[in-house]
């Protein structure tokens, strides 16, 4: 009991302390600071766009992982989880090599006149790199919870594979996918390590907080941190609401019938 309380306190105390140390006027000043607002806005939309774009590939991949058996499936599953265990700065370095003008993707982008380094597109890639596992894994679990029997029944009734995916699998796994979506989005938003290597500018909120801290010190960085934490909290609450309702009650999972 006491130990649990200590752990909880350990999470709450620094945050509470930070909130208490931030005066109302200081906070209002920060909220009106154009640089801060821009960076928060940039962080939100880039993370959102990154999540949205990558979900187009991630969701079908999750379905494949849930439904199909293929060689090296375990290895692929391992690769997907890899970004979770990598130090994020290391991930940033790896990604930089890939998207700088000498890298494969960088070259391709520069023929289109796009420099990915120090560009929102580069930031989106960095965010996706570290946060994709959250979406893929959540969506995979969601698809796995859909009884395969329902998909087979739909096929038997004459629906095509695509039709079955969009009318049966996707709607039934929707809640898990949304949870994964919010998790990927929130994780992308809070990313610092990989992004700071790819793009110091334009500044996402975590980089801005770091920059304020290293240039001006704790007091100056604190209000921006509080503001960003509040934004993140909103998304956390949304996420919790989703996962609380996440009682996917279907008919018995692919019942043992014979």
């Amino acid at each position: 009991m006491i130990l649990s309380a200590v752990v909880l306190l350990f999470i709450i105390a620094p945050l509470a302390g930070m909130f208490l140390h931030t005066g109302g006027s200081q906070f209002l000043e920060t909220v009106e600071d154009k640089e801060v607002l821009q960076s928060v806005w940039l962080t939100i939309w880039v993370s959102f766009a990154s999540t949205l774009i990558f979900s187009l590939g991630a969701i079908p991949l999750a379905w494949l992982l849930a439904r199909k058996n293929f060689p090296a499936k375990n290895i692929i599953q391992g690769i997907i989880d890899l970004p979770i265990v990598l130090p994020h700065t290391a991930a940033g370095i790896a990604l930089l090599g890939f998207i700088s003008r000498d890298g494969i993707l960088g070259k391709a982008a520069s023929t289109l006149g796009l420099d990915l380094v120090n560009h929102p597109a580069g930031i989106a890639l960095a965010m996706a790199f570290v946060s994709l596992p959250f979406l893929i894994n959540a969506a995979r679990d969601g698809f796995m919870a859909v009884p395969e029997r329902l998909e087979k029944a739909a096929l038997n009734l004459g629906a095509s594979y695509t039709k079955v995916f969009f009318t049966i699998s996707l709607p039934l796994a929707w809640r898990s996918i949304t949870t994964g979506f919010v998790m990927m989005f929130a994780r992308g938003m809070s990313e610092f390590g990989a992004i700071v290597i790819i793009a110091y500018h334009p500044m996402v909120a975590p980089v801005l907080i770091y920059e304020r801290f290293s240039s001006y010190g704790l007091n100056y960085a604190r209000p921006a941190a509080v503001f960003f934490i509040l934004i993140a909290l909103i998304f956390l609450i949304v996420l919790r609401l989703f996962s609380l309702k996440r009682k996917e009650k279907f008919i018995s999972t692919d019942a043992q019938t014979d």
Partner: protein, 351 residues
């Protein structure tokens, strides 16, 4: 109509082996088998949810072995119904029509029509989550019937319904069959088979071990397993002896059966059918009967009365009505006579 030719399919430890089966148009084919016998797998092969390792599936003279599920027009109703939980009853029944991109108005009329036939018009707007088992069953059936399947496959459709619903559904299935729908129905319950089938196949360990009309299968069970299905419990391993032109079977406890006709071979398995099997307090006089004196060792209540266990050297089982128990004043330990005609005995190969 449907022909399965030399179908084999291995699934882990289990295999469907050399399945040959023929169903003619309008037939009500009941495939009888215990759980794990492979009957559901066989249905899934026919529907195209699984594919055989080798062999052919012919439907209406067309080889459909490799045809895609969605093109077969074979309806299957799963044991757990597989009703889509995120759609209303209407949405479920309309699903196959929507998948075929039919016009909205025609979908509505057709759904209403089949719902009326299935007696579920009043629940069309309901969510499927709160439906009873019987309602789910009808929804699943309506959803399948709306595409007018060439062949209807039913996986244990009666197993999770209570008795009155069972009778309703049986009536419905019988009428459906009478109106021309060819049906293959798998079940573990031989009562279903007797009351519905026009033809019966018995599947055991992935093999079809007997096939024929209901009478053929239940009156001439080809082995002990099928006999069990027919409710026959009296089996005896005997060695054959001949005497004065008649054959006798003798058990290791020296119980001696007079057999129908002359039986060749040495070791055989006898089964004694229930018809003509009598229990009485005095010795039956008919000389054509096999007659034994025994002792009632157990009287166990059963579905229709009691199940008697009688020790006459070997153990005989006999179901009896409660009124018979009273009339004969039966009690455990009491001595009785049992008798049955030689024609009640079926002689099987010894293995």
């Amino acid at each position: 109509m449907l022909r399965l030719i030399d179908i084999n399919r291995r699934l882990g430890d289990f295999a469907l082996t050399d399945i040959n089966l023929e169903v003619s148009p309008g037939q009500y084919y009941v495939l009888l088998g215990r759980s794990g016998s492979g009957k559901t797998q066989l249905l899934e092969l026919i529907a195209g949810l699984e594919h055989p390792d080798n062999g052919k599936i012919i439907l209406e003279n067309e080889d459909i072995t490799k045809q895609r599920i969605q093109d077969r027009k074979i309806g299957i109703v799963f044991q757990d119904y597989a009703v889509f939980p995120h759609m209303t009853v209407f949405g479920n029944i309309a699903y196959p029509l929507k998948a075929r991109k039919e016009e909205k108005n025609s979908i509505k009329t057709r759904v209403e029509k089949v719902a009326a036939a299935m007696n579920i018009s009043h629940i069309l707007e309901r969510n499927t989550e709160k439906l009873s088992g019987g309602e789910m069953q009808r929804v699943a059936l309506a959803r399948t019937l709306i595409i007018a399947p060439r062949l209807l496959l039913l996986d244990e459709p009666l197993s999770s319904l209570d008795t009155s619903l069972k009778d309703d559904l049986k009536r419905l299935l019988r009428n459906l069959n009478k109106s021309g729908q060819t049906i293959i129905h798998v079940t573990h319950d031989y009562g279903d088979a007797i009351s519905l089938a026009t033809r019966v196949g018995v599947i055991h360990n992935g093999k079809i071990i007997q096939e024929g009309s209901v009478d053929q299968v239940f009156n001439n069970p080809s082995n002990r397993f099928v006999a069990r299905y027919a409710g026959i419990r009296n089996f005896f391993r005997v060695s054959i002896a001949g005497e004065n032109g008649s054959s006798y079977g003798v058990t290791e406890h020296n119980v001696r059966f007079r057999l129908p006709g002359v039986i060749s071979g040495k070791n055989r398995l006898l089964l004694v059918k229930n018809d003509g099997f009598t229990v009485s307090n005095v010795m039956p006089e008919n000389r054509e009967l096999n007659v034994f004196k025994g002792r009632v060792t157990e009287i166990i209540p059963s579905e229709f009365g009691v199940e008697l266990t009688i020790d006459a050297g070997d153990i005989f089982y006999k179901s009896a009505l409660l009124s018979d128990v009273e009339k004969l004043n039966l009690a455990e330990g009491k001595e009785v006579w049992i008798g049955f005609p030689t024609v009640a005995i079926v002689v099987l190969n010894g293995n």
